[in-house]
């Protein structure tokens, strides 16, 4: 057993308090006594007790009233009534009101021993249950959402504050920033976490397919509909529905969606029975919905229905300080999935990553690391394992000379500084290549 179990004995008879005190102290419990319910309540305001053993008949407040008041405490202790034979009926009433057990005076030592052992077991189970619940929610918190940057911390704070509510949320951000992960974090920290989160990628489905996907269909609704099928809204009952790429849905689907969001009821395609479902909506888009509303391509009423809370996920270039953490996280992830020994990344390669623009954001970084692990053979990811060509496209190089320098450097590295082969690849002669090396001060990488 971990922490010691605490017991509060409440009885107006001193001899009873003393006897029980000594009995429980011998058993190694933390024990305190109170001569009446009023004093016990004062003690309970100051500290928590795991178990209360209270006499039933006491001057002033009786055990029943004391129990009623104890039940209002946030951390409700296990309540055991001690009674004389004459008041067993009242003790039974106390049990009906939620007391753990009752014991008649005088106790058989074995009965008392068993009773307290059972109560202590109940306390241990209760504590274990609470700890596991905390563990479950914190596990979901940390997984996959990697970063220490202020930008990410701000987003996580928004997630925390919005999670407990039932409001619709729009998550905006560039492609690959982790909008679905943010949606999952909201769901996992919400009271709906024990129900499913259903994701729908609206952009990947045609209008008719999306309709059937969201609302389900009845057998024979269309060619190939051989069975009844539950829609995503139905599957999300009690949980959350995540509509990715919401900006891509057609005007007709926008009307349908608005109706469902307002009534929380819908009819399956080809059906006539109204189905209701209790779901929360989280949407994501990489487009500016507001400007789409202004242009008339997205319904204003739907926009306001969805846009109760807006969370903007920053692009990776706005949280460069998270790149090393993310890189190491993906290294661990892919080494584990490929059953390889854990490798590291050399500082030069990391510096190189920090300079990139990453138009594809975290997803692009993840792919880059996965590729580097696959093509690299050593225990360290080196600069040469990273796609240099990508850098030319995504970096902020503006001058032609700078571009030339990078490109020549990349080709030289590719051919291990074999001048003849590099010159041939660049379609220039060796002398020109030497001149360029000198001009751009290119050096062999160690």
């Amino acid at each position: 057993m971990g922490e010691k179990i605490s017991i509060l004995i409440v009885d107006d008879e001193e001899s009873v308090r003393d006897s029980l005190y000594n009995w429980f102290i011998d058993d190694g419990y933390i024990v305190e006594c109170a001569e009446n319910a009023k004093k016990a309540l004062t003690m309970l305001e100051a500290r928590n007790f795991d178990i209360i053993l209270s006499d039933f008949k006491m001057p002033g407040m009786d055990g029943m009233e004391f129990h009623r008041r104890v039940k209002t405490f946030v951390k409700e202790p296990i309540f055991i009534i001690m009674t004389a034979f004459a008041s067993v009926d009242s003790a039974v009433q106390a049990l009906k009101n939620g007391a753990f057990d009752y014991i008649t005076k005088p106790f058989d030592p074995d009965d008392l021993s068993h009773l307290i052992r059972n109560a202590a077991m109940q306390v241990a189970l209760k504590n274990e249950n609470e700890n596991l619940k905390i563990k479950i929610s914190t596990l979901v918190d940390v997984e996959d959402l990697i970063g220490e940057s202020e930008a990410l911390k701000k987003v996580l704070k928004e997630v925390e504050s919005v999670a407990q509510s039932n409001s619709s949320v729009i998550i905006t951000g560039e492609s690959g920033t982790g909008k679905e992960l943010i949606a999952r974090a909201i769901h996992s920290n919400s009271p709906r976490k024990f129900f499913p989160m259903i994701s729908v990628h609206c952009g990947a489905l045609s209008e008719s397919l999306l309709e059937s996907e969201l609302f389900g269909h009845e057998k024979g609704a269309f060619t190939g509909a051989s069975f009844n099928r539950k829609g995503r809204f139905e599957m999300a009952d009690g949980g959350t529905i995540f509509l990715d790429e919401i900006a891509t849905i057609s005007p007709k689907m926008q009307v349908e969606l608005l109706r469902v969001l307002e009534s929380k009821t819908f009819v399956r395609v080809g059906g006539n029975k109204e189905i209701s479902s209790d779901f929360r909506v989280i949407c994501a888009t990489n487009r500016e919905l507001k400007s789409m509303v202004e242009k008339g391509t997205f319904r204003e009423d739907l926009f306001y229905r969805l846009n109760v809370v807006n969370i903007k996920v920053p692009p990776l270039r706005e949280r460069v300080e998270d790149i090393p953490l993310l890189a190491n996280y993906f290294i661990k992830k892919y080494c584990a999935s490929m059953s390889r020994d854990l490798i590291s990344i050399e500082p030069a390669a990391l510096q190189h990553l920090e300079k990139l623009e990453f138009p594809g954001n975290v997803r692009e970084l993840e792919n880059m690391i996965e590729r580097a692990i696959v093509i690299g053979s050593g225990k360290v990811i080196k600069l040469k394992d990273l796609p240099m060509g990508k850098e030319a496209i995504s970096s902020s190089i503006e001058s032609l000379d700078e571009l030339k320098k990078k490109h020549i450097g990349m080709i030289l590295n590719k051919y291990n500084w074999n001048i003849s082969r590099a010159a041939k690849a660049l379609n220039i002669d060796r002398a020109t290549l030497y001149a360029k090396i000198k001009k751009f001060d290119l050096k062999v990488e160690k």
Binding site: E13, S15, V16, D18, S19, L20, N22, W23, I25, D26, D27, G28, K105, P106, F107, D108, P109, D110, L112, S113
Partner: protein, 172 residues
Amino acid sequence: MDIIMADIRKEFQFPVLFKECSIDLSNFYDPGRRQYNANELLGKVAELSSPNALKTIGLFKVDLFIPILTYIFGQAFLNGNTGIVSLYRLRNEHYGLEKDEKLQLERFKKVIIHELGHSFGLTHCHNPVCIMRSSTYVEDIDQKDHHFCHTCKSLLDEKRRELIGSNKHKRL
């Protein structure tokens, strides 16, 4: 009693003295329960204990109770100087079984060592054979050994070292 005393001496490493006293038990009798009040008897034992004794255990043949429990085999205060033990409920005859004097004395010895353990500051132990394991039935007493487990022994040794410094001349 000699065997019991020898075993107590062995467990606690203190000299043990046995002394017979006469007490008028009628003052401690509760006619309603037809038992003897252990709390009050414990007070009497404290009165009669010698100033040279480190710990004193009163041994009785009568049925003991404390107000909240139907019976007790014995009791001693944690870190206290006195305790009491009764032979009454340790007899096989009490449970309708055949008399077994040897077993009765073995139980008596175990309860005395257990209560003395409390007086040395030891609480109940979860080790099934340790003498400090809580026993509410005689069968429980029979299950355990009359020795301390390793953990309780270490705690007892620590306590002994503390006591030896200040009570060199005393005995149990």
